[in-house]
């Protein structure tokens, strides 16, 4: 089970990178970044997974009950919060690009090179 989860995480990460590399649209590119990001969720959550483990809420639970690791869940939450900011910023830049240049193709935005 665990190896499958790790494999899925790796696959999604690579798919996201492929999409971002070939992307011709900034909005699509931002979404590819969220795809890469979702691979980190799967990785983190499968690291903390325990078979038959409950949610890590210990109120009224017998001592010694198996629970999944709460640390990776908080890492995932932190990651979501940070990435929302970054993606929002990239989307705002895409919006601006459309207003100023009339295109959201990163190739056509490339003024500076060499």
């Amino acid at each position: 089970m665990n190896f499958l989860a790790y494999g899925v995480a790796g696959w999604i990460c690579l798919v996201g990178f492929y999409g971002a590399i070939v992307s011709k649209n900034l909005i699509h590119l931002a979404l590819c970044l969220t795809v890469i990001q979702s691979s980190t969720y799967i990785l983190l959550l499968s690291i903390g997974y325990e078979k038959h483990g409950g949610a890590p809420i210990f109120k009224g639970v017998k001592l010694g009950t198996t629970a999944v690791d709460p640390v990776v869940q908080s890492l995932t939450l932190t990651d979501i919060v940070i990435s929302v900011t970054v993606i929002a910023l990239i989307l705002a830049l895409a919006l601006d690009a459309h207003k100023k240049a009339g295109t959201i193709d990163p190739d056509q935005l490339a003024d500076f090179h060499g």
Partner: protein, 604 residues
Amino acid sequence: MSWLLPLPVAIPLLTAAAIVATESLLPRRVLDAVALAAAAAATAFSLLIMLHAEAGDVLHWFGGWRPSGGVAIGIDFAADPLGAGLAALACGLVTLALLYSWSYMQEAARLFDALMLVFCGAMAGFALTGDLFNMFVWFELMGVAAYALAGFKVEELGPLQGAVNFAITNTAGAYLILIGIGLLYARTGALNLAQLGRMLAGHPADRLVIVALTLVFVGFLVKAAIVPFHWWLADAHAVAPAPVCVLFSGAMVEMGIYAVARIYWTVFSSPLGHAGEVRSLLVWIGVVTALVGALMCFLQRHLKRMLAFSTITHAGVMLVGVGLLDPKALAGAANLVLSHGFVKGGLFMVCGAVLVRLRAVDELRLHGAGRAVPWWGVLWAAGAVGLIGVPYVGVFLGHALVDDGATARGIAWVQPLLMIAEAVSGGALLRAGARVFLGWGAKDDSLLTPEPPEEPPERDAAVAPMAVAATIAIVIGLALSVTPGLEVRTEHAAERFVDRTAYVAHVLRDAKPAREPRPPFTVRAATTESWAYGLAALALAALTAAFGLWRHRLPELFRAAAGRALRPPVEVLRSAHSGIVGDYLLWLTIGTAVIGGVWAFTLR
């Protein structure tokens, strides 16, 4: 003194929030002054922490969650002199940049002040923290503020490209770091650097540790602008406002280098007992970065882009200093970060002033125009000389120490290569200065890359605060090589930085190291070898500048032969800097695979 530690982070962040909240209530100058005072206070507290840390690392466990039985539960800030010194450098540069923006960022906006303070707090947190995931959070916060600042002048098209490329490549790098952190957590169940180091100690590195090492290092090397992950840096610098470039080049790039050093010594130095393979790879990519940066620097006519490639050169040298895995070379890298930060920051300030006064930042368009502003020409020349490594000036001390470390580790061949890289990039700056401020050399040069012009800020910007900030930055940067006691202190600090067992014992078991006597305030005489390299660098830089200025006077036969030999590699390198973000991500993927592959084969 542990209560001091959160202050360099808390003061800027809280002030930033206060500035945004009171934006419509208070006049602009009051808010500017508050921002300036907050950055200055953060600098002062960072310096205070650095002085305290000289006698032993300063620890602060947030919420009082101290380690119990040698197991870290909470999140800590652990300041040693190098980390606190880096925080002080970052906060100090923010202070100078805010002083500079007092008149430079006219239309600006308090949002600018708030973003600068968030950037400041995030960099200080990054340099002070002792927890790997916490490091990632500060890294991302620093990134978000930086992306917004890079694209601050969104009325133009140029800033969009720079900000987009910067944001996307660095975000992709950050995800690699996060995956690496996840893998390390899966192996050890720890996020605290000391705890990670303790858990991994005593086991040889297996595949998982090598993959984690690769991902974490690559992510931070993206921020450090190391070849082949450096592409975004020139795009971002070309478009960001000058005071923002000061922070990008002077402090942010160095944070990436610092992270590699910090994480290597605390986490990976023990499982990778045979560190020779890590050393050779890091030194190699550092040397390649320095040379690529120098060549690209020489090919630029856009002054800010030229300075950006010069930063890449120096980032390469710093990576060599860290990658030699030697305390002396690490002390060299630390000194290099310090002097380069101030000098390069000052040079970017000169660029901004040139844009205000002369309405352009293009070397050829400005041919001779700089005669009207002689003081800025003097500052530019002083800064350019400070970056070459002339004996006792600017980056010389850092260089000499990196060279000493290389000799000690038996890889003395890097010294001439680094000397050439510094001389060529310094020579390019001298050439640009001579052309702009003295009107020397040809009026046109087909070798240099044309770039779109930058929209200057309003003409009536008062230059006095700008001149004060730039002069302070360049004078500090130049004087660092002859600061009494600095060399001994960084060497002591670097020796403590690499002492993993003492760090772990102090953080997890609160075992304080023995107090050392205060080192003397002296300036050591440079060795004959350092003198020779320094003077050779100066001569080569002068030759490079002369070649750039008067190439057309060389005999036709020689020029044709040199053109045939040099044109193809130069064109390949130039076309690789395509400005397209997809290409940059492809390089990121290939670079990660190659570095991981090399380490997977050699570190077994």
